[in-house]
Amino acid sequence: MSRKTVALFLCLLLALPMTGALAEEPAVVVTDMYGREIALAAPAQRVVALTAADCEILCALGCGDALVGRGEYCDYPESILAVPVVQSGAETNIEEILALEPQVVLMGDMAQSRDQVDMLEQNGVKVVVSNAEDIAGTYTAIRMIGQLMGKDAEAEALIADMQATFDDIRAKSENTSKTVYFEVSPLEWGLWAAGKNTFMDELAGICGLTNAFADVEGWGEVSQEQVIARDPDYIVTTTLYYGEGPTPVEEVMSRAGWEGMKAIQSGRVYNADSNAVSRPGPRLKDAVLELYNFINGTDAEEPAA
């Protein structure tokens, strides 16, 4: 009995300096976007990512294999569709996540709560929070996930690639006084438009356009009269098309009272990939390229028409 106790004591004594050494020099220290420090002995091997953007970043860094669980709205790239799905947001199911035995859970701050973070951490899972609200924030998120996975060089390369594209397009686009109006739904459901401090607003700025609803903060249901009166040069809709009825572009073109608008008369209406333009991930690059091509493609055709 007493010998056992002594042995246990000795074990503890031996173990203490070891854990101490680990705590002093963890291989990976990440500061998440809430300013919390997260230390890991080695780059993460098993990760659950709850937001779609974080999944995209992980895959872009070549860490798709480390993904052991994904939030319900994570659907890109296709290779992750085989990964088990867990609930996210307010209904986040802690049990489901723990069952996947991740070392790290990546979550956004939008629909998650502090309690969920605490509960995961109490169960020995590290939580890293990302909350990118603009392109600069997206770079921070990429850098953070790169550190976490031990892929710093890949992260820097991805950021440099995105930055180069944005710079290139910014340089090619002259600042015009032309305006663009972004909406996310058909007229029937009300005109929900992107205002200031949205990714769409930032992408428009890179392409040299001004957001027609820059006076609206974030997202808002705007008045149809205002859209007609502001008469934007371009209309971008991110309505999803399910393959029946009029396409989103046709729906915009056929709205009563919109016939006289510049964008309608010149056909400058474009259906953008809703996920690419709204997720703080690597596909923002594709979104800005598409937007640039749309603006300049139709411009190039104009003289002929």
Binding site: E188, W189, G190, V216, E225, Q226, I228, L240
Partner: protein
């Protein structure tokens, strides 16, 4: 005591129409984008006589956006308020309304199922399903109530209506959970918007309001009998079950159309009939027309606030009606409670 005339005089109707037209004009003249009174009137005048209007923003906004919206709002307000008045009289319950009866929820369920199945082509599928489900909900509620209590008593209908609404709201959440990529469409729909309403919708609403509203107004005498209690109504020779069924069908069809066009707008059917009762008294020959007109005026004013207060942002009209309606409702009941005992 002086004897009241049962019907409103022509003068009173004149006043109602004046208030209605005045409010409608006010709502067409005011909006998120300021347009001068002269341009507005010119647009309306030329539009009315079909003469050529110089193209421009004013024409597009007034004739294609504002006027159809005001018309739809007015018709919805009139329909919802009339339905509320009819149900309160029929069930002798001051809390009766499309929402308490479960008809509005049923209509929403139908619309959401249409969206989830993707039969959205035009809004025809959604509207058909909303009307169908409003009617089916009514049959189900009446059937259950009948099974529980053969006389279709008031309390059992209201109770089943409330339980049914809760049941439907859980089914809605369930459908939304399984909707996958349609999630966005369905969420937007449940928030409801009058933005897309056009003359076609207004035409449909007028048609159904004329049909079902006509039926309801035609039963004013029977509703008066119901107000004295179902037994009394039976004793003076009212065919209780036939009248109940007719009125409830008219109400459910009308609410189905309103919900499919404007979404669920709360409190109009609940509060406006009480206000109308304060002006016109409890006789349904006066109460029903008064509810019709005041419902239209009330909803037009609420919509005016929703359109202009936060311009360029639009408020959901339901937010405005619930804010105003809840306060008005409490006030009315407080006064009524002080004045006389109202058993409910």
């Amino acid at each position: 005591m002086k004897k009241h005339r049962e019907h409103f005089s022509a003068g009173a109707y004149g006043l109602f129409i004046l208030a209605f037209v005045g409010t409608a004009l006010l709502c067409v003249c005011l909006g998120s984008v300021p347009i001068s009174l002269r341009d507005t009137v010119a647009c309306l005048w030329n539009g009315l006589w079909g003469t050529e209007i110089p193209a421009g923003i004013a024409k597009n906004i007034i004739l294609n956006v504002r006027l159809p919206r005001v018309l739809n709002v007015a018709l919805c307000g009139a329909a919802l308020s009339l339905c509320g008045a009819a149900m309160q009289g029929l069930l002798q319950n001051p809390l009766a309304d499309g929402s308490t009866l479960g008809v509005s929820s049923g209509a929403s369920l139908g619309a959401v199922i249409a969206l989830a199945l993707g039969v959205t082509g035009a809004s025809g599928g959604v509207m058909g399903m909303a009307m169908g489900f409003a009617f089916l909900s009514l049959l189900l509620i009446l059937g259950l109530a009948y099974a529980l209590d053969k006389s279709l008593s008031t309390n059992s209908i209201i109770l089943i209506g409330v339980i049914y609404s809760m049941f439907v709201s859980s089914i809605l959440t369930l459908i939304i959970s399984f909707s996958g990529e349609k999630l966005r469409t369905i969420t937007f729909w449940t928030m409801g918007s009058l933005s897309g309403t056009n003359y076609g919708h207004a035409g449909l609403l007028s048609l159904f309001l004329a049909l079902c509203g006509g039926v309801i107004l035609g039963h004013a005498r029977e509703l008066n009998a119901f107000a004295m209690g179902e037994d009394n109504a039976r004793h003076i020779g009212v065919n209780i079950r036939r009248v109940k069924l007719t009125i409830l069908i008219a109400v459910s069809v009308l609410i189905g159309v309103c919900v499919s066009i404007a979404g669920n707008i709360g409190f109009v059917g609940l509060v406006i009939p009480h206000m109308a009762r304060m002006i016109a008294g409890p006789n349904h020959k006066r109460l029903l027309p008064a509810s019709l007109f005041s419902g239209a005026v009330f909803l037009m004013l609420c919509d005016l606030a929703a359109r202009t207060v936060l311009s360029p942002i639009e408020l959901n009209i339901g937010v405005v009606t619930s804010l105003v309606g809840a306060i008005a409702f409490v006030t009315i009941f407080y006064r009524a409670g002080k004045g006389r005992d109202r058993g409910c």
